[in-house]
């Protein structure tokens, strides 16, 4: 019945072009792991090997010999892709070690993010987001991937709530007894002071 129909169609569509491509989905043909496919066919010959993520992703370009003039940025959140393959002049990333400016040709880096302001510079335009935490990867080919759990434009933050939260958590930090409570209060203070700094600074 339908089960077989779908299997047939699955096979058909892999050879066809995507019928309806997703905006974030890049039509890349298999750079699949040949060792894996071979091993799979040996052990379970009657089941098609599953796809692996690289089959759904365009290969990133190799590092160019000269430094490009623009930085390609992917800025993603779980519920949206804020920037996808956008070319900008510079981004400033709130790494745990301090604000980090990334220009084209930046050395390859893995940076952990702390709560703070991420700004994207594009000509004279500066877009500022407050990110709660996540990771940023800067690749040698002037690609930057920024992944955050939550990011909001600065103007959506309520300054009164920030002050209130800061006071509340500072007080909690004083009264916390267990390790977990202390850590939670500490995180609260960190986040709220970062929010505060972002709004005032």
């Amino acid at each position: 019945m339908f089960r077989h129909g779908s299997r047939f169609l699955t096979r058909a569509t892999t050879t066809m072009k995507w019928r309806r491509p997703f905006s974030t989905d890049l039509p890349a043909e298999s750079v699949a792991d040949s060792n894996f496919i071979e091993a799979w066919r040996k052990v379970v010959p009657n089941v098609e090997p599953p796809k692996t993520p690289s089959a759904f992703m365009a290969a990133r370009p190799a590092t160019p010999s000269s430094i490009p003039s623009k930085l390609t940025v992917n800025f993603v959140l779980p519920y949206s892709s804020e920037l996808s393959g956008k070319e900008v002049d510079m981004v400033i990333i709130p790494a745990t070690t301090g604000q980090m400016g990334v220009l084209p040709g930046h050395v390859a880096t893995i940076a952990e993010l702390k709560p703070g302001v991420l700004s994207v510079h594009e000509g004279n335009d500066v877009t500022k987001y407050f990110v709660s935490g996540g990771f940023a990867f800067v690749h040698a080919n002037s690609f930057a991937d920024i992944i955050a759990v939550e990011a909001v434009p600065l103007d959506r933050i309520d300054a009164n709530l920030v002050q209130k939260g800061l006071a509340e958590f500072t007080q909690k930090l004083g009264t916390a007894s267990t390790d977990v409570e202390k850590a939670e209060a500490q995180i609260g203070v960190d986040v709220h002071s970062a929010l505060n700094a972002a709004l005032t600074g």
Partner: protein, 70 residues
Amino acid sequence: MASNAAAPFWRAAGMTYITYSNLCANLVRNCLKEPYKTEALNREKVHYSISKWVDGKPQKPTIRSDTPED
């Protein structure tokens, strides 16, 4: 800032990076202006049931939920 301290304090308290980043995100969501705040908070609701298995036998399932059973 305290997060520059040696081993991250939150891991010392038994949290994973996931817990830590979720806590941070949630605090940020709590400081949003309306209507963004309600929208963001309503989006992120947790509910599921988990049961651990030991030697092929299920243990009692626990339910993790933000919204209390009604």
